[in-house]
Amino acid sequence: MQEESCRELFEMSGFSYSDELKSDMDEIIALINSIENFNDEGFSFTQEICPLRDDIEENPLSFSLNSEEAPDFTVKRVVKP
């Protein structure tokens, strides 16, 4: 992986750049890059693998949290500039 594009990746991920992590990334990419050779003709990911509940599939807009069931998302820590 080129250092310049790697620096962009770190920035996009919200991390300071590190040579050690860049080297780890190279090792991981070497492990996964064979997948590009997978012939995926005729296969496509469908919702059958991760189906949603029937009522949501039939009418996606019908899904909403009941306000009584909704958890209390109280923000506990806020940065004060």
Binding site: S13, G14, L31, I35, P51, F73
Partner: protein, 463 residues
């Protein structure tokens, strides 16, 4: 094991308080727990004992249970083993945990884990590495290593873990206990801190498969707070061990498996009488597909830790500097690797070559495994290819990625799988056999695992 404890409690041979005190004493060891609720649990045990005295029939009444520290417990710290959430106190509890409480379980503490459930050895926690109860130099497995160790050292007879790519089954295998990953969609993920939402499941660890089944029965069921939790598991088909049609990947995977590990799993597999050897479909792409998909989802899920909504904050007045400083300090190396990989695979230039390919590997694998499970009741494979790793020796982190291949099959396909202890390797550490079942046929799978456990116990294989 839980059954025995319930009988002892109802007969008056022990009390909920005595069980709780014993659990808390044993839980001090091995860095298995991040937090223990000693005072609260002991106090609560008295209330539970009163219910036992009144012949209350709640299914886990008075039983001490441990819960992995990525499952929210209202007003109790939930750290995910991370600096990022070291002081995070949730304002609500996970559905699975609520169900445990309603069933009369006594939650004694939160267990140690790999940071944000990313890891295979429970060694990426900010609270230190979980020690394997058999030998402290060896891996306890990850990421639910604390839950597995808590069961193995006898602190609890069952625990909750989470399993994305093997995080319940691998530590169960390394610690010599049973670990069950349910079918995706049968247990609510509401309140489970998200890693890879399409594969995350809350699983159970226990001394026996029946312990896992007992906890699963309590936590399973449709929850309106999780849109993917849409299935009720099917009733047990009451199959007998000897009548099961079994497909085995043991021979296919033999070249990748340590010989002593192979011998153990082969011996256990031979107890089934109707077994055929099969080829593992798409074998060469499983690891890549799992890491691409899980990391892509992790990158999205963990983008919420920006330093101003929850958790750690670097307190820098500049928004961008605060984000970079918080995430650089707050996340450990392994979590950073996964986020980087996820963003890399989702980036414009690589999306088609990596992410879409991985998604299609998943679709193809699921199709093929489903076809096999139409012909066979169960599929067998070793839980891990190698014997339990000695963590005092240097090792490459990508080696651990490759070792997840066997567990990743059930994860990618969303099918249930259980890891059973079936013997020991040449170092005297446990070996696990994984049994995968049909989607939503979880109770049948656990019932057969229970029968196999009994058969192995009769042979003296179980401790």
């Amino acid at each position: 094991m839980i059954k025995t404890l319930l009988t002892n409690l109802s007969n008056g041979d022990t009390t909920a308080t005595a069980l709780c005190a014993d659990a808390l004493k044993k839980a001090q060891n091995g860095r298995a727990f991040i937090s223990l609720f000693a005072k609260q649990a002991l106090q609560y045990s008295k209330a539970l004992q009163e219910r036992i005295n009144k012949k209350d029939s709640a299914p886990l009444l008075g039983i001490p249970i441990a819960v992995k520290d990525n499952i929210l417990y209202k007003d109790h710290k939930t750290t995910c083993g991370s600096e990022m959430l070291k002081d995070f106190v949730p304002s609500y509890s996970a559905t699975a945990l609520e169900k445990l409480l309603k069933s009369g379980a006594n939650i004694i503490g939160k267990t140690n884990m790999d940071e944000f459930a990313m890891g295979s050895h429970s060694d990426t926690s900010v609270f230190g590495r979980v020690l394997n109860p058999y030998n402290e130099n060896y891996s306890a497995g990850g990421s639910s290593g604390g839950s597995a160790a808590a069961v193995a050292m006898g602190a609890v007879s069952a625990a909750l873990g989470s399993d994305t790519g093997g995080s319940v089954r691998l530590p169960a295998s390394y610690c010599g206990v049973c670990g069950f990953r349910p079918s995706y969609g049968t247990v609510s993920r509401h309140g489970l801190v998200a890693f890879s939402s399409g594969m995350d499941t809350i699983g159970t660890l226990g001394v026996t498969p029946r312990d896992c089944a007992r906890i699963f029965k309590v936590i399973a069921g449709v929850d309106p707070l999780d849109s993917t939790n849409n299935q009720t598991p099917k009733p047990d088909r009451k199959l007998h061990l000897k009548d099961c049609r079994v497909g085995s990947f043991l021979e296919e995977l033999r070249p990748e498996t340590d010989s002593d590990v192979y011998e153990c799993v082969r011996h256990a597999a031979d107890i089934f009488k109707n077994t055929e050897e099969l080829s593992l479909p798409l074998s060469q792409w499983i690891v890549a597909a799992y890491y691409i998909l899980s990391s892509a989802e992790a990158a999205a899920n963990l983008s919420r830790y920006q330093g101003f909504r929850y958790g750690l904050s670097a307190q820098d007045p500049d928004f961008y500097d605060n984000l970079i400083k918080t995430r650089t300090v707050g996340f450990g190396k392994e979590v950073k690797r996964r986020i980087l990989l996820g963003n890399y695979c989702l980036s414009a230039g690589y999306y088609k070559g990596y992410y879409l390919k991985a998604r299609n590997v998943r679709a193809a694998l699921t199709l093929k495994i489903d076809e096999l499970l139409n012909r066979y009741d169960l599929l067998l494979l070793p839980t891990a290819p190698h014997r339990v790793p000695d963590l005092t020796k240097p090792r490459k982190f990508v080696g651990s990625y490759s070792d997840d291949k066997f567990c990743a099959v059930a994860s990618l396909c969303g099918i249930p799988a259980v890891s059973l202890p079936v013997g020991t390797d040449k170092n005297g550490l446990p070996v696990g056999l994984s049994i995968c079942g049909r989607r939503y046929d979880d109770y049948t799978l656990l019932s057969i695992a229970g029968q196999l456990y009994d058969a192995l116990k009769k042979e003296g294989v179980m401790r």
